[in-house]
């Protein structure tokens, strides 16, 4: 009798027999999972259901005190979205954030991982922690620093530009530059995640592949093109799924840096949901928007998972 079998046997023996015992065991189980279940139902399942219902109503400021006075208006909220120029602008902004953000996030994450894996030999731990630190830092603290960096009047970047005789722009006041800075912040803040996962992927590539390539006379770049990249394919696809989902919901970076401005060029969908829901209290409309975003995310995720499955 192995140790495990002995444990199971003793547990079976200790359990009171019969119906009462079974009931007691079930109750204990439910009691232990109750904290999670209550929180899950109250703060996740119920709100998700409630907002789904809300998205078909005209729930608005006037209904706050008496929610049941809201009327069902079918798909009107969803139809309205398609004619709301600000929503379309927000959708375009989000697309820009996702496309550029995801590509750059993967590229920088991969570069950092490769460098850490083979290039950097001294102080490796310091670099690894340094690259990962933004992921676990508070966005508010980050925003203070970044806003200082790119402040037009006394920012560090413009200060440096000034010393070489260039008068720097108002980075966050210019619509195009502001979008660039938001993307840069998103990438800087998140690439540490990609780096860690890429590192794991890199360490899973058998070393003999590289040895064989070197015997064949391949240089570093050829090794990277023909061995590293193809071997990292599943990792890359997995990361692109994660990053896309994350960036589709981008909120914090533009919220702390630009509040969506200038000219609403850095307003993502999730911030517009927030504006409509909590500044103007059109909660029906905001819910419809949130669900549209949810469906888009689900669809993109599904497509990416299909790709993932067929490629591996």
């Amino acid at each position: 009798m192995s140790a495990q079998q002995a444990l199971v046997a003793s547990a079976t023996r200790a359990r009171p027999a019969g119906r009462r015992g079974w009931l007691r065991e079930a109750l204990t189980g439910w009691a232990f999972s109750a904290p999670f279940l209550v929180i899950f139902l109250a703060f996740l399942a119920l709100p998700i259901l409630a907002s789904f219902v809300l998205s078909f109503t005209n729930f608005s400021l006037g209904n706050l005190v008496d929610p049941l006075s809201a009327r069902f208006i079918g798909l009107n909220n969803y139809a309205k979205l398609l004619h709301d120029p600000k929503f379309l602008q927000a959708a375009l902004n989000t697309t820009i954030f996702v496309v550029f953000g995801t590509i750059l996030n993967l590229a920088v994450g991969l570069a950092a991982a490769v460098a850490l894996n083979r290039g950097i030999t001294r102080f490796r731990a310091i670099f690894r922690v340094g690259y990962y630190l933004p992921v676990v830092s508070s966005i508010v603290a980050i925003a203070v620093i970044w806003r200082f960096l790119f402040n037009a009047d006394f920012g560090l970047v413009n200060g440096l530009l000034h010393t070489v005789g260039i008068s720097g722009p108002d980075w966050l006041g210019n619509p195009t530059l502001a979008v660039g800075i938001i993307v840069a912040l998103m990438v800087w803040r998140n690439f540490g995640n990609a780096m860690i996962i890429f590192l794991a992927g890199l360490q899973g590539i058998p070393n003999d592949l590289y040895e064989a390539a070197r015997i064949d006379g391949a240089n570093r770049w050829q090794e990277f093109r023909s061995i590293t990249l193809p071997m990292l394919r599943p990792t890359t696809l997995f990361l692109s799924v994660l990053t896309t989902i994350g960036f589709l919901q981008v909120f914090e970076e533009p919220f702390v840096m630009t509040q969506g401005g200038p000219l609403n060029k850095t307003l993502p969908i999730s911030m517009y949901v927030y504006q409509q829901g909590f500044n103007f209290f059109h909660q029906g409309y905001a819910s419809a928007m949130a669900y549209t975003l949810f469906v888009v995310i689900a669809a993109i995720t599904l497509i990416q998972f299909r790709l993932l499955r067929s490629e591996t």
């Binding site: 119920l46 409630a50 500044n279 909660q283 949130a290």
Partner: protein
């Protein structure tokens, strides 16, 4: 990265906002008299909110009403509105709150605030201030302090640039800005790309209005004219096309970079504090448009919530804060302008030359319509104003955009 994190958080917040409302039962409105000890929850915003608890006014209230304890919660202006509305939905309102002058439409639509007690004499207060505390012709609150916007300018720099008198008309203002810039300042005037409070008075001055007979008139020829005039300052490079975060207007004014701007009475103290001698700057009434020289009237009002269990004590507090004596002492402490004319006769107010300009401007100052959707309409105006200022839309198109969006907001 947390997949689905934000979407879930947003829907969770949405539902949280309505769940307490659905659960809360109707609260009894017991107008208990002020006999036993009572604690009042008071929410106050901005600088006033920060200073209220430790102020002299509060000390004298406590002395006169030892039975009433006041708990002040200071809120920043940027979040006060949303917090207040959310508290109404959650039936967790304070007893008394200080509100912005454009919020009354929402609060009455939510049926959240009580009407004025009959003991209050409405004519004690400036009509413009009383308007901001009313909706649909009924008064629900009392104006605590008022403010209006006037032109601040660097007198010394204007003299040097050949501008001897304060600008009387819009053309004069444009000329002054041009001369100030030509005279060596970085800019001529400091205006915001998107601030309806700066823009709307120009519509009034041009002879237009925001709303007439329940319909917006934001695309009227007068409004287009106002927007054209406003955006010209940006197109001619006479004002900053963007204000960096943390931009300090006072420093820029003292340095002479931004030698004029339009703002409220609180700036006067800040300029003096920054060390600029009074001989070097001045305030002047708003320059006249086609029809008038109208400004914006703001400030804040006190309201008492229907959910409060101590409404009598709450009104006692509000009436104390808006009494003549408190208004004068509050002016001496914080420099907020009294909302009642009889407080203006005090020597502390009559002695100040700058204050005379504000006093005169208060006679021609409007507030925006008190409709429940005003915050949203204001955001639409801001958005289009920004487009016109940054030359992304012609003033006529931007005015049309404002009108369309605003109409849609109150229609649907």
């Amino acid at each position: 990265m947390k997949p689905f994190g934000h979407a879930f958080r947003v829907v969770a917040l949405l539902a949280l906002a309505i769940v307490p409302a659905a659960c809360g039962a109707a609260n009894p409105n017991t107008g208990a008299s002020v006999n036993g000890p009572v604690t009042l929850q008071v929410w106050a915003n901005g600088d006033e909110g920060d200073k209220l608890a430790a102020s002299q006014a509060m000390a004298s209230f406590k002395q006169a009403n030892p039975n009433i304890t006041i708990n002040v919660t200071p809120l920043p202006w940027t979040t006060a509105h949303d917090k207040l509305i959310t508290s109404i939905a959650g039936r967790a309102t304070p007893d008394v709150a200080m509100i912005g002058t454009t919020w009354m439409g929402e609060l009455t639509k939510l049926n959240a605030v009580t009407g004025l007690p009959s003991s209050v004499n409405k004519s004690d207060f400036f009509a413009g201030g009383m308007d901001t505390a009313s909706a649909n012709g009924t008064a629900y609150g009392l104006p605590w302090y008022v403010e209006t916007r006037v032109l601040y300018y660097r007198k010394d720099l204007a003299d040097k640039a050949g501008v001897s008198a304060p600008p009387a008309t819009w053309d004069d203002l444009m000329t002054m800005a041009q001369k100030l810039k030509a005279g060596g300042s970085k800019y001529g005037i400091d205006l915001q790309t998107n601030d309806w409070q700066e823009f709307i008075p120009l519509i009034w001055s041009a002879g237009g209005d925001v709303m007439k007979n329940g319909k917006f008139t934001l695309d009227s020829p007068e409004a287009v004219k106002a927007l054209t005039f406003y955006s010209d300052f940006f197109k001619k490079g006479l004002t900053r096309s963007s204000q960096p975060q943390g931009f300090d207007l006072i420093q820029a004014f003292v340095a002479g970079d931004d030698p004029s701007f339009i703002s409220g009475p609180w700036m006067a103290g800040l300029i003096t504090k920054a060390g600029l001698d009074q001989s070097k700057w001045a305030v002047a009434p708003m320059p006249k448009g086609d029809k008038s020289a109208t400004s914006f009237v703001g400030g804040s009002d006190w309201v008492v919530f229907k959910n409060s269990k101590s409404q009598d004590a709450a009104w006692k507090f509000v009436q104390f804060m808006t009494s003549k004596d408190t208004q004068i002492s509050w002016y001496k402490e914080i420099k907020d302008l009294p909302s009642r004319p009889d407080a203006w006769t005090d020597a502390a107010l009559t002695a100040d030359a700058n204050l005379k300009v504000f006093g005169a401007q208060l006679k021609d100052a409007h507030s925006p319509p008190n409709i429940p959707q005003w915050e949203e309409v204001a955001k639409a105006i801001d958005d289009w104003q920004e487009k016109a200022s940054l030359n992304k839309a012609t003033p006529a198109d931007a005015a049309k955009g404002m009108q369309q969006q605003a109409t849609q907001i109150i229609g649907g």
